[in-house]
């Protein structure tokens, strides 16, 4: 696919400036794949939350973007990974208003509501990886995988 050119990427997340690149990349990639303005904004906002968690809580890491296709429907998958302390209690971290720092505690749970698929893999002491996918049209029905 020729669209993959501007979509697939691996970006470092080490500074506030990197967060700007992450948001810009996700916005361009989503626009390229045909996401509506509202859906672009949702995905960019989710990426912003997750990338900042990678930076602030995970001590830095990276984001990988990939184009995915299921049943003729295109989507964008973002994977944020760090080798930080991990999340000891994921349910609590996902609940609205929980923060271990001075945040609003809305980032993780909010990001989950802004995307179609949301998976967290976290190992205390060795790191966290959050993978989200959104589809250009609606999420494909009856997906067994992912």
């Amino acid at each position: 696919m020729d669209t993959a050119a501007g979509v697939e990427a691996r970006l470092p997340i080490r500074s506030d400036m990197d967060l700007v690149w992450v948001r810009q990349h996700v916005r361009h990639a989503a626009a390229k794949l045909g996401f509506s303005l509202v859906d672009q904004t949702k995905l960019v906002t989710a990426a912003s939350e997750l990338a900042r968690n990678t930076l602030v809580h995970g001590g830095g890491g990276q984001m990988e973007t990939a184009q995915v296709t299921t049943g003729g429907n295109g989507g964008l998958r973002l994977t944020f990974s760090d080798s930080g302390p991990g999340i000891p209690d994921l349910d609590r971290a996902l609940s609205d208003g929980y923060t271990s720092g001075g945040g609003l505690g809305m980032g993780l749970g909010g990001a989950r509501r802004l995307v179609h698929d949301f998976t967290v893999e976290t190992v205390p002491g060795s790191g966290t990886s959050v993978r989200v996918t959104s589809w250009v049209s609606r999420p494909p029905r009856l997906r067994e995988d992912v």
Partner: protein, 299 residues
């Protein structure tokens, strides 16, 4: 990394190169003075270019002496780091790309290598190859040092520009007696928010404002951090006895805020800057008469 010149043998290739550099310092500097990198940067006199070349040869000899030809952090380079940065910067200003500057640096090797080959003519081919390799590695490291230094200059420059941008990008506009507004444009990270908040609070005090409008039409993303900053600003304005109105929340952003689960309930919002101004004027009890002679009649 494996060093070519291992052991303390007196004839280590790096030391051979060191001796060669010291012996031929003048000739090398003279030849470099004709290369574009030196010729175009040091334009006052040829002697100036030769002088600069001597300093570089001297630094290289010191690095060779320490036998750290592969190490860009070798102490010997520190004397010429600044000079290399100035040379690189001058070439960039002349319109060269980083790749072009890099190849100008690479062009410094052949004349030196030719001299080395001539000098070691009588040595075994094996020996000559070792010394030539050490010289090539050393010159490669010089190139790396120059490029690193140039990059850190660029980094410093962007940092400075970023700071300047922080200051200029937050103009507070007085819209009316008692009403100030800040049109926010771009990313609202923590540093920027701090500046916005301070600027706005000062303006509220200085101008005895009763209303402050934060217009976020130019803010591309409102996530939980941006929302938190907005709410803090609203609270701080309230503490000063004024009211804050947030305008310019675009439809896509409004929907996203709802999904994100942010509660901006305590924040007064209006669609556009004009609506926000209208609200403030209403509250002030100002009476606007369109296009009437004498202009607007205010309380």
């Amino acid at each position: 990394m494996p060093q070519h010149e291992t052991g303390g043998a007196p004839g280590a290739p790096a030391h051979e190169v060191r001796d060669f550099l010291r012996r031929r310092s003048e000739q090398i500097a003279q030849r470099w003075a004709d290369e574009p990198l030196f010729r175009t940067v040091f334009t006052v006199s040829r002697e100036e270019a030769v002088e600069a070349g001597r300093a570089v040869v001297d630094a290289l000899a010191r690095v060779a002496d320490s036998r750290r030809v592969e190490d860009p952090d070798a102490a010997g380079f520190s004397a010429v780091r600044e000079q290399l940065a100035r040379m690189g910067a001058a070439r960039s200003r002349a319109g060269l790309s980083a790749a072009q500057v890099s190849s100008e640096l690479a062009a410094l090797l052949p004349p030196v290598d030719r001299l080395l080959v001539a000098d070691l003519e009588r040595e075994r081919p094996e020996r000559l190859r070792e010394c030539s390799t050490a010289l090539t590695v050393l010159m490669g490291t010089l190139r790396l040092v120059a490029m690193q230094t140039a990059l850190s200059e660029i980094q410093a420059l962007t940092d400075r520009q970023r700071l300047q941008l922080l200051e200029v990008a937050t103009p507070v506009i007085k819209l009316w007696d008692g009403i100030v507004a800040v049109p926010l444009i771009g990313t609202l990270d923590s540093a920027r928010s701090q500046v916005v908040m301070e600027t706005l609070l000062n303006a509220v005090v200085d101008q005895h404002a009763r209303f402050a409008i934060l217009d976020i039409t130019g803010v591309p993303t409102v996530d939980s951090l941006v929302a938190q900053h907005l709410m803090q600003t609203v609270d701080a304005v309230r503490l000063l006895g004024a009211e804050c109105v947030v305008s310019g929340i675009r439809p896509a952003i409004a929907q996203t805020i709802v999904h994100l689960g942010l509660d901006l309930g305590t924040v007064k919002t209006r669609a556009g800057l004009a609506d926000a101004l209208g609200h403030c004027l209403d509250e002030l009890g100002a009476n606007i008469v369109a296009a009437a002679p004498g202009g607007a009649d205010r309380r």
